[in-house]
């Protein structure tokens, strides 16, 4: 069976993501921007699938496309479209933005092409887990007694989310 992850699909998905990303910042209507962002996020989920990471792809769909973007839309829908259309779309920080984006892009390219002691940082044959065991492998990386390396980082991230939740409740509710 031929692999599905052909270059054609990569370019298709990457193209979709880039077009979606451009539409996010160029649409005047905020709802259109949000929908373009959803397209981008779904294409990103498909890219994760191409990297044989179905669990991450599933989480991407359920959290970003299904959860966070619904809340985004929920808020955006209540904005007056007529007033929003009259607002200036770009502020005067575009020069700084371009410099920052170019710096980040340069950093990515440098990292990708750098070789230390003859070894690339991103070797061709990167570690891939079989699709049928992907979820279990991620769980093992996070929680396993022997192989688990990322438990501390994971728990720190969840603590950060908890702080954000409590902060949101404190800000939103006058009387707790």
């Amino acid at each position: 069976m031929n692999p599905v992850a052909t270059p054609f699909f990569f370019y298709l998905l990457a193209g979709t993501m880039i077009v979606g990303g451009i539409l996010v910042i160029t649409r005047k209507n905020a709802v259109h921007s949000a929908l373009a962002l959803i397209t981008t996020l779904l294409a990103q989920a498909a890219l994760y699938l191409m990297l044989y990471a179905p669990f991450v792809a599933g989480v991407q769909i359920i959290l970003y496309a299904g959860g966070i973007m619904v809340l985004f839309l929920f808020v955006i829908m209540l904005i007056s479209i007529e007033r929003a259309a009259k607002e200036r779309q770009f502020n005067k920080q575009w020069l700084v933005g371009i410099v920052a984006a170019a710096a980040l892009g340069g950093l990515f390219i440098t990292i990708y092409t750098t070789t230390t002691k003859g070894k690339e940082l991103f070797p061709e044959g990167r570690m891939t887990y079989g699709e049928s065991q992907n979820t279990q492998q991620i769980a093992a990386l996070l929680f396993d007694r022997g192989a688990g390396q990322y438990m501390f980082a994971f728990e720190i991230a969840s603590l950060l989310l908890l702080v954000a939740i409590i902060g949101a409740v404190v800000m939103a509710k006058k009387r707790i």
Binding site: F55, I61, Q133
Partner: protein, 447 residues
């Protein structure tokens, strides 16, 4: 040509025990997709008729009686009417989003059926992330609803869409917690092993998100998860059963399309074909969440009473049930043929009903052929369990008054969510209890 036939037949080899998607057989995968799509459409049409009929009988009415015998052709008449209706896009609407929203909802509702396990080999494909995929893709349908409500540029749809998104996001949390407790249960394989297969040679082989894997875990443990750790499994099932009604925007949680307040909610401005797409999506979403409940708690394709009524005699008896139930339906048709008025105006209707009964009887007879019987049995049990949920949906609609919005939020966040969290912790504790007990016994044996 010969190679093509070989390719097609290679999947029919009895040694192949995977789904066509897993076997990588594109031909059979396409056939399965078409079968699922066709079966789903027929099921939605049947539900349309059944809902009206059952609801009518609950309210001591007759329901549709004019089009065809006992209104059997009513859904087809409705479909023709809807297709011929003018397709209106309101002047102030955002045309593109208005146009694309129903397709989004239908796409989300139908895509989840890729992983629905009608049998150990009767699914389009089996994914490692099956249940996550189902929950994720079905949560995308709320995007379509929000798009429809906003793009209509009208008050009722907007309020309907707002309610819908708030409701679906709230109940997804409780639903997810109930599902998590089942995923914990799937890792309880073997008698001596506890949660996560701790102590096994290969702990990563335990626990699964795959829909087929979840049903197989119930088969291996010899218990449906609704009865596991009684009453924990039952509580989880009830949380899911409540949340799934809310997720599909059905009575008593049908606030997004509350007729008395919002005319028709998010699809007020839709007409004709586009409206029928929302209808199709609503019913297929109902079938989808019901099949999640069936696969997770009610043993999926497994026949009832696997333990109390085991043995080859009972296996044979249960394998005859599909054929017998179709014959019963046929008998019902013929009984009503006999009861039809003898007036010449009813001649065509009587003949039509007799023909329908004959077709049902023929299907029933075909299901007695051993080769067919073996392959159809699992699909039948799965469909029968899902049909039970479909009846419950109609029953709820006929029984319960609609929730108020604050009551809805209270049930979701203050009752189901804490209950789900407690359930998750208790399930984990019960799983570890088995493991600790096994270790204790080992120590005792060592002494």
């Amino acid at each position: 040509m010969h190679e093509l036939i070989d390719y097609i037949q290679s999947y029919l080899d009895p040694r192949v025990t995977t789904t066509p998607g897993a076997a990588g057989n594109i031909f059979w995968a396409t056939v399965y997709i078409l079968l699922v799509f066709g079966g789903l459409s027929v099921a939605v049409i049947a539900m349309n008729w059944l809902e009206r009929k059952i609801l009518a009988h609950m309210q001591v009415r007759l329901g549709p009686m004019r089009v065809g015998p006992h209104g059997l052709l009513q859904p087809i008449a409705d479909a023709i009417k809807l297709l011929l209706k003018e397709d209106i896009i309101p002047a102030g609407a955002d045309a593109f989003i208005f146009w694309i929203a129903p397709f989004m909802v239908v796409l989300a509702a139908f895509t989840v059926f890729v992983v629905v396990p009608f049998g150990p080999t009767h699914a389009i494909t089996d994914m490692n992330i099956g249940i996550l995929f189902m929950l994720g893709v079905s949560s995308l349908s709320v995007l379509g609803i929000v798009m429809a409500g906003w793009a209509s540029n009208s008050h009722y749809p907007l309020i309907g869409a707002l309610r819908s998104s708030a409701q679906m996001v709230s109940y997804e949390v409780a639903m997810g917690l109930a599902v998590l407790s089942v995923i914990l249960l799937t890792s309880l394989q073997g008698s001596g092993l506890g949660l996560y297969g701790i102590g096994a040679a290969n702990p990563q082989a335990y626990g699964t998100l795959s829909m087929i894997g979840i049903v197989q875990a119930q088969q291996e443990q010899g218990v449906w998860f609704i009865f596991k750790f009684f009453p924990l499994g039952l509580i989880g099932f009830f949380i899911f059963a409540i949340a799934m009604v809310a997720e599909t925007n059905r009575a008593p949680f049908d606030l997004p399309e509350a007729e008395s307040e919002l005319t028709a909610g998010f699809h007020t401005e839709y007409s004709g074909f586009r409206w029928s797409l929302f209808f199709l999506a609503e019913y297929s979403a109902m079938i989808a969440v019901s099949s999640i409940a069936v696969a997770l708690w009610l043993g999926g394709w497994l026949r009832p009473f696997p333990n109390a009524l085991s043995g080859s005699t009972w296996d044979l008896a249960f394998s005859l049930v599909p054929g017998i139930s179709f014959l019963l339906l046929a008998a019902m048709c013929f009984y009503n043929v006999a009861r039809m008025p003898k007036h010449p105006l009813f001649k065509i209707q009587t003949m039509g009903l007799a023909g329908f009964g004959a077709v049902l009887g023929l299907i029933g007879l075909v299901m007695f052929i051993p080769a067919v019987r073996d392959r159809v049995n699992d699909i039948f049990w799965f469909a029968a369990k899902v049909a039970g949920f479909m009846y419950l949906y109609i029953w709820y609609r006929g029984t319960f008054p609609r929730y108020r919005f604050d009551q809805l939020m209270k049930v979701g966040w203050k009752i189901l969510l804490p209950l789900g969290l407690a359930l998750l912790i208790l399930t984990a504790a019960m799983g570890m209890r088995t493991e600790l007990w096994a270790q204790f016994q080992e120590v005792v044996h060592g002494l």
